[in-house]
């Protein structure tokens, strides 16, 4: 199945989707679940079946079967180039924006298939926010950075209040409350990344995807963001890509290990090796390859 390629399709689809809201009735209602419920028994937010991605015909990822549960942190780990970012981008249809990228298989988001034709990628991204590896605040004020999402999505009521709440939620309020009108590029890297998280939270998403959000940050900022991730699971489902196994061990409830399969012809293709509770992945994984990776004997 081809993702609808970007631009024109996006904007026209948006108009129509506002009426029909194909993802409108989806369950963001009962978000909070008792911590006591084991992760595997919580709601399934994403049910990925045989998901694969090709870039201009070259397969980069294949046959990913993975369930992602609500109000938990799911970590995607694996050697670089194994398709973690590629997979993450499937979840909010960011791959649509990459010319030549084609997604196959099915991803059910709260039971609804994300790649069916009538689903609007814009609407999907509104619900499934994303934070990138390199902090990418807009080159404008802190206030305007957070306000961008609510403004374009027409959530303009009580904007000031929303901005304060989101900044508090992202544990950034105390640091920036006196300089909301100052440029966001003047913040430190760690603050910029928390600003990007706040920016994503401001549009009230259901899921936050983070692609190596700490890889450009110092240890203190990293730990601030890890704390933030943990606190977010009360309200959100978090999927994080990390190449830092300690980080996965610290924050993730579930961990999925991806690796690269070398084809006979020398083609390399990412695959999901296994997914399990984090402690099992790190102490008693089912697969040898996982064990080799988590113990540092890369295989």
């Amino acid at each position: 199945m081809d993702p609808t390629p970007s631009t024109a399709a996006d904007s026209t689809a948006m108009e129509s989707s506002r009426d029909r809201t194909p993802l409108g009735a989806l369950g963001v209602a009962e978000r909070t679940q008792a911590d006591a419920t084991p992760v595997e028994e919580r709601d399934v937010v994403f049910d990925c079946q045989q998901v694969g991605v090709r870039y201009s015909g070259t397969r980069a990822l294949r046959d990913v079967d993975l369930k992602i549960h609500s109000n938990a942190v799911t970590a995607l780990i694996g050697p670089s180039g194994c398709g973690k970012s590629t997979f993450l981008r499937c979840l909010n249809r960011m791959n649509d924006l990459i010319p030549g990228a084609a997604v196959d298989g099915q991803i059910f988001y709260h039971g609804e298939e994300l790649y069916q034709p009538q689903v609007d990628a814009i609407e999907v991204r509104k619900r499934i926010g994303m934070v990138f590896q390199k902090p990418n605040p807009f080159p404008k004020s802190i206030y305007d950075n957070i306000a961008f999402g609510p403004r374009v999505l027409g959530m303009k009521k009580d904007l000031d209040e929303r901005i304060e709440q989101t900044l508090r939620r992202a544990a950034l309020w105390d640091e920036v409350k006196d300089r909301l009108k100052e440029g966001a590029l003047g913040l430190s890297g760690g603050q910029q990344q928390r600003l990007c998280i706040a920016r994503a939270l401001a549009v009230e998403p259901d899921v936050i995807l983070m692609d190596e959000p700490c890889s450009a940050l110092d240890p203190i900022s990293t730990s601030a963001i890890e704390d933030l991730m943990l606190s977010l699971t009360n309200d959100y489902t978090v999927v994080i890509v990390t190449h830092n196994m300690q980080q996965a061990a610290r924050v993730a409830d579930m961990t999925a290990f991806f690796s690269v399969d070398q084809g006979e012809t020398g083609t390399r293709c990412g695959v999901l090796i296994e997914v399990d509770r984090t402690e099992r992945i790190f102490t008693n994984p089912a697969h040898e390859r996982t064990e080799a990776y988590v113990t540092g004997r890369f295989g």
Binding site: I122, F138, P139, F148, G149, V152, V203
Partner: protein, 302 residues
């Protein structure tokens, strides 16, 4: 630091100096090359300085209120450049209102929306590149054929300004595209990831971030157009206009007036021409200076 160690450090420093000096002596070729570079620069600078000095010498005595207030006249004591100055300003306004929005729109479309792999788009891009290399006199001929005669506008200011605008398009499009390209993709992705449409991201984030660069390119393009003569001669800019020009009247612009004055035999007109050149130079240098200031002021490290 005690005395002994200071002396030691001193010695070490001198040893290093000696080594460096030795190296400098050895590189005769480098010295010659450096001299050559200095000389080339000097030639340019000296030529510019001589030009400036002569023009200031000739022109300053004639640079007075009359130059701005009076119309051209056969009597050099009463001649001024008012209609030409007004025409040049009008041309700039027309450029601002027509060529700039078209150029920026084209750049935004090509850079942000056009399908990358489309043949037609490639063809358009190629054409824009080529258009930038077309001699200005050709634009003049085009203006004569299409605007002055084809559309029957006649030799009016609007026709001249439009043709200058056409000539300016490729330069500004290319500059604006570069400015847009300098906005990192992460900004676009950041916006799209929030559920904004591509259009919203371009309008609210990418374009504002690119504006300093676009403005710089636009100003440089405009200043070139304002100093332009050849295409205007082609579309019939008259050399003697004593009334205040409008969009649909005959006109002359500063460079053409200068050209006309210089051709006249009386010395006084040479002085007037030099004074008009000073006016034109001040306008152009101001515009370019503003462009440079904009570029430095808003230069951004992502």
């Amino acid at each position: 630091m005690n005395a002994a160690s200071r002396i030691a450090a001193d010695h070490a420093g001198r040893a290093v100096n000696r080594q460096l000096a030795g190296r400098r002596n050895r590189s005769l070729a480098a010295t010659i090359f450096l001299l050559y570079l200095l000389l080339s620069t000097a030639i340019g600078l000296i030529a510019l300085a001589v030009l400036l000095v002569t023009i200031l010498q000739d022109g300053l005595p004639y640079l007075d209120v009359m130059l701005f207030e009076n119309a051209p006249s056969a009597n050099p004591d009463r001649a001024g450049a008012r209609p030409a100055i007004i025409a040049s300003v009008l041309v700039a306004v027309v450029l601002l209102a027509t060529a700039l929005p078209i150029a920026i729109g084209t750049a935004v479309y090509l850079e942000e929306f056009a399908p990358r792999d489309s043949r037609i788009i490639r063809l358009i891009e190629l054409n824009i590149q080529n258009l930038a290399a077309v001699p200005s006199i050709i634009f003049g001929i085009l203006g004569l054929a299409f605007l002055v005669r084809g559309l029957d506008l006649g030799p009016v200011l609007l026709a001249g300004a439009l043709i200058l605008g056409l000539q300016m398009l490729p330069t500004v499009i290319i500059a604006a595209r570069e400015a847009l390209r300098a906005v990192p993709d992460t900004v676009r992705q950041g916006g799209m990831a929030l559920g904004a449409t591509r259009w919203q991201v371009v309008w609210r984030e990418v374009l504002p971030a690119a504006i300093p660069g676009i403005a710089t390119g636009s100003i440089l393009g405009m200043s070139r157009a304002i100093g332009e003569t050849a295409p205007l001669l082609m579309v019939g800019a008259a050399t003697f206009v004593s009334f205040n020009p409008g969009l649909l009247t005959q006109y002359t612009v500063l460079p053409i007036l200068i050209y006309q004055w210089i051709k006249l035999p009386q010395d006084a007109f040479q002085g007037l021409a030099a004074a008009a050149i000073i006016v034109l130079l001040v306008i152009l240098v101001t515009m370019n200076g503003f462009a440079i200031w904009l570029r430095n002021r808003y230069e951004r490290k992502w």
